[in-house]
C-alpha cells in the first residue's frame, strides 16, 4: 500500500529504481495524511542556529553593499568603473540578472499551474518568493545607477509641471511599467496563495501575539466552500495574467538593448532570447535554493528526486533553447554581411572578451548537457553544483551582452575596455545579501511548501471504498481517492 511508505524508504526506492515519471504524475508516496503535512511543514518555521548564521551573513553582505553605495553617492558614479563609452556596467548587468532570476518563479507558479504539471506543487512557493525578492533586488539597480538617486521618482512618467517630457516611446519608460506591474502582480500572487496557509498557522498558533498577526494576515480566512470556490477562480486568472506578463517583462527588458543601435544589440531575436535565458537562470537559482532547503528542513519526501528530475528536464530544455539562441546570433552576424557586426562578434568570442564568452558558453551550453543523464538529474550534489555554474554563466551572459557591445561600437575611437571596481563588486555582493536576507526572513515566517496545495494531492480519509462517492450520476475523481491494494 503506497500510503504506508516511510520517507526514508521512499527516497531509497527512488534512488534505486530511478523511475521515468511524467512531470504531471509526480506524487508524494511518503506523505500519508493532512496532519503529517501540517506538522512537518510548519515545523520548518522554528529558527535554528544555522538560520541565524545565514541571516547575519546576509545582513553583513548587505551592509557592505550599503557602505559602497554611500561612498558612491559621496564621490560620484565615476568610482563605479565606468569608462566612456562604456556607461552601462555591473549595475545594468545585475539588474537584468535579477529580473531574469524572478522569471522562473512565475513560470513554475503560474505557467506550470496552467499546464497542470504535478512537480510544481512542492517547489512553487519557494520559487514565487524568489521571484518577489529577485524583482525587489532588481528594482534597486536602476536607482543605484542614478547620479542623484533621491530623484528616482523622475523616472515615473506621470504628468507633471517639472518641464519633464514623459516619453512613452522610450524603452526605459516601458521598463517602469513592466517592472512595477511584475512586482505588484507577483507579490499579489504570492500573497493570495499564502492566505489559506496563514490560516493554518493562525489556527495552530499558541502565542496570542503571533496568532493575532497571522489572523490579520489571513484576512479571516475560514476554509469555507464559498472562499475556496472564488479563491480557485481568482488563482486561475492570476496565473493566466502572469503567464503573458512573464513573457512581456523580459521582452521589455530586452528592448532596453534591442532598441539601441550598438552592434550585437540591434536584433529582433532579443525578446525570445532574453525570456528563455531568464527562465533558465531562474531554474538554476531554484535549484540553488531548494536543494539545501529540502536537506536542512528534512523535506526530501516532499521535494522528491522525481520533482528535481522533472525540474532538471525543464532546465535542460531551456539550456538548449538558450544555446540555440547563441548560435542564431553567430549566424545572424555572419549572414548579415555587416563588417561592424562581424568584427564585434569576433572580438566578443576570440578577442578582448574571449574569457567572458568562454565562461558563458561553458556554463550555459556545455555543462547543462549533463542533464541528459538521468543519473545526474537525480544527483542532488551535481544539480547544486551545476546550478551555481548556471548562476555564474547567466550573470556573464548579461556581461557579454552589455560590455562587448558598448566597448566595440562602430568607430575605433569608440573602442575601449571596462574593469569593474571594488564598488561594483561590493554592491553586487550587497544585492545577494539583500535577496538572501528577505528570503531567510520569509522562510521562518511562512511555509516554504504550500500546505493547502499539498493537501490536494494527499488522499483524504475515507470511511468506505471510493465507489460509494458516485453520487447522482456524477463521476467523482477516483484517482484522488486512496485505494487499498
Amino acid at each position: 500500500m503506497a500510503a504506508t511508505v516511510k520517507p526514508e524508504e521512499a527516497r531509497d526506492l527512488e534512488v534505486l529504481h530511478r523511475p521515468n515519471i511524467a512531470s504531471a504524475d509526480v506524487q508524494l508516496p511518503a506523505v500519508r495524511d493532512y496532519e503529517q503535512v501540517d506538522n512537518e511543514i510548519t515545523a520548518t518555521l522554528s529558527p535554528t542556529g544555522a538560520w541565524y548564521i545565514g541571516l547575519f551573513t546576509a545582513v553583513g553582505f548587505l551592509l557592505i553593499g550599503i557602505a559602497a553605495w554611500m561612498y558612491q553617492i559621496y564621490s560620484g558614479l565615476g568610482v563605479a568603473g565606468y569608462n566612456p563609452p562604456v556607461m552601462w556596467g555591473v549595475y545594468i548587468i545585475t539588474f537584468v540578472f535579477w529580473v531574469g532570476i524572478g522569471h522562473a518563479g512565475t513560470l513554475i507558479s503560474a505557467i506550470l499551474y496552467l499546464f497542470r504539471a504535478g512537480f510544481r506543487t512542492t517547489i512553487y512557493r519557494c520559487a514565487e518568493a524568489m521571484t518577489v525578492f529577485a524583482v525587489m533586488t532588481a528594482g534597486l539597480f536602476p536607482i543605484l545607477h542614478l547620479g542623484r538617486p533621491w530623484k528616482f521618482f523622475w523616472l515615473i512618467p506621470y504628468p507633471n509641471w517639472r518641464y519633464l517630457w514623459p516619453n512613452f516611446k522610450s524603452p526605459l519608460v516601458w521598463d517602469v511599467f513592466a517592472i512595477l506591474t511584475y512586482l505588484t502582480v507577483s507579490t499579489t500572487f504570492l500573497y493570495i496563495g499564502l492566505i489559506p496557509d496563514i490560516a493554518v498557522l493562525r489556527d495552530r498558533e499558541k502565542n496570542p501575539i503571533r496568532r493575532h498577526i497571522y489572523g490579520v494576515l489571513s484576512l479571516g480566512w475560514r476554509n469555507s466552500d464559498r472562499e475556496w470556490r472564488h479563491f480557485a477562480r481568482a488563482y486561475l486568472f492570476l496565473a493566466a495574467f502572469s503567464t503573458p506578463l512573464v513573457l512581456s517583462v523580459h521582452s521589455v527588458v530586452s528592448f532596453d538593448f534591442a532598441m539601441g543601435l550598438p552592434p550585437g544589440w540591434h536584433t529582433t531575436i532579443f525578446p525570445p532570447y532574453f525570456v528563455a535565458g531568464a527562465i533558465f537562470s531562474g531554474i538554476g537559482m531554484v535549484f540553488t535554493i531548494i536543494i539545501p532547503l529540502r536537506k536542512w528542513f528534512r523535506l526530501q519526501h516532499y521535494v522528491t528526486l522525481n520533482h528535481l528530475d522533472a525540474a532538471a528536464k525543464l532546465c535542460l530544455f531551456t539550456s538548449l533553447v538558450v544555446g540555440c539562441a547563441y548560435m542564431v546570433e553567430w549566424f545572424i552576424a555572419w549572414y548579415s554581411g555587416l563588417q561592424v557586426e562581424q568584427d564585434y562578434f569576433w572580438n566578443r568570442i576570440f578577442g578582448q572578451w574571449w574569457w567572458a564568452s568562454a565562461i558563458l558558453y561553458t556554463c550555459n551550453m556545455v555543462l547543462p548537457l549533463s542533464l541528459f543523464s538521468q543519473r545526474l538529474r537525480r544527483n542532488t550534489t551535481w544539480l547544486f553544483i551545476l546550478s551555481i555554474f548556471i548562476n555564474i554563466g547567466m550573470w556573464f551572459e548579461r556581461f557579454v551582452i552589455v560590455i562587448p557591445s558598448l566597448s566595440h561600437e562602430f568607430e575605433p575611437w569608440q573602442w575601449s575596455g571596462y574593469r569593474p571596481t571594488w564598488v561594483d563588486y561590493a554592491i553586487l555582493a550587497g544585492s545577494f545579501g539583500w535577496f538572501s536576507m528577505w528570503f531567510l526572513l520569509f522562510i521562518k515566517q511562512f511555509p516554504v511548501i504550500a500546505i493547502a496545495e499539498v493537501k490536494e494531492i494527499v488522499k483524504p480519509r475515507l470511511k468506505r471504498a471510493p465507489d460509494h462517492l458516485e453520487h447522482s450520476g456524477r463521476r467523482l475523481e477516483r484517482e484522488k481517492m486512496p485505494v487499498d491494494e
Binding site: 516601458w174 470556490r229 477562480r233 481568482a234 495574467f241 460509494h468 462517492l469
Partner: protein, 166 residues
Amino acid sequence: MRGVIGHFREIDTAVDAIEELKHADFGAITVYSPTPRHELEHVLSAPPSAVRRFTLIGGLLGVTFGYWIAIWVSDYWPLVVGGKPIASWVPYTIIGFEVMVLVGALSTVAGMFINSRLPKITHTVGYDGRFSHGDFGVWVECDPEDASKCEDMLRANGASEVRRER
C-alpha cells in the same frame, strides 16, 4: 444566525451528510474543508464564481486607461521625434498591455475578496480551527425546532462531533 455544525473526520461521510441535508432543505449549508475538494464542489453544485466578471471588466478598463494615459500625455507634450506620430499605437501597446495586466489582476483579487466576503473581522459562527487542519465541517442554518433533526442527520452520517451554535 442559528444552526448546527457537524465535524467529520472522513470526506465521504461529510459528502453523505451534505447530500441528505440538501434533500431535507433545512437552510443554507456551508462546508469547511482544509483544501478544496471536487467531491464537495460537486455535491454542493454551487454556481460558477463571479470573479471572472471582475477580471474582464478590470482588464478592459486597464487597457483603455493604459492607451489613454500614454496618448493624452503625449498630446500634452507634443514633441515630434524622428518624424514619428505624437501618439504612436505600436509602442503604446506595451503600456496598454502592462496596465491591463495590472488592473485586471488587482480587480481579480478585489473580486475574490468581495465574493468571498473577505476580510472577515468577526468570529464566524460554527468555525473551528480543526477545519484548516484536517477535519471537514458542515454547517447548516436551521430553525431551533429543526435543530434536533439536523443533529440526528449529521450523527447518522458519521459526524464525530455535533453542536448547536448561534
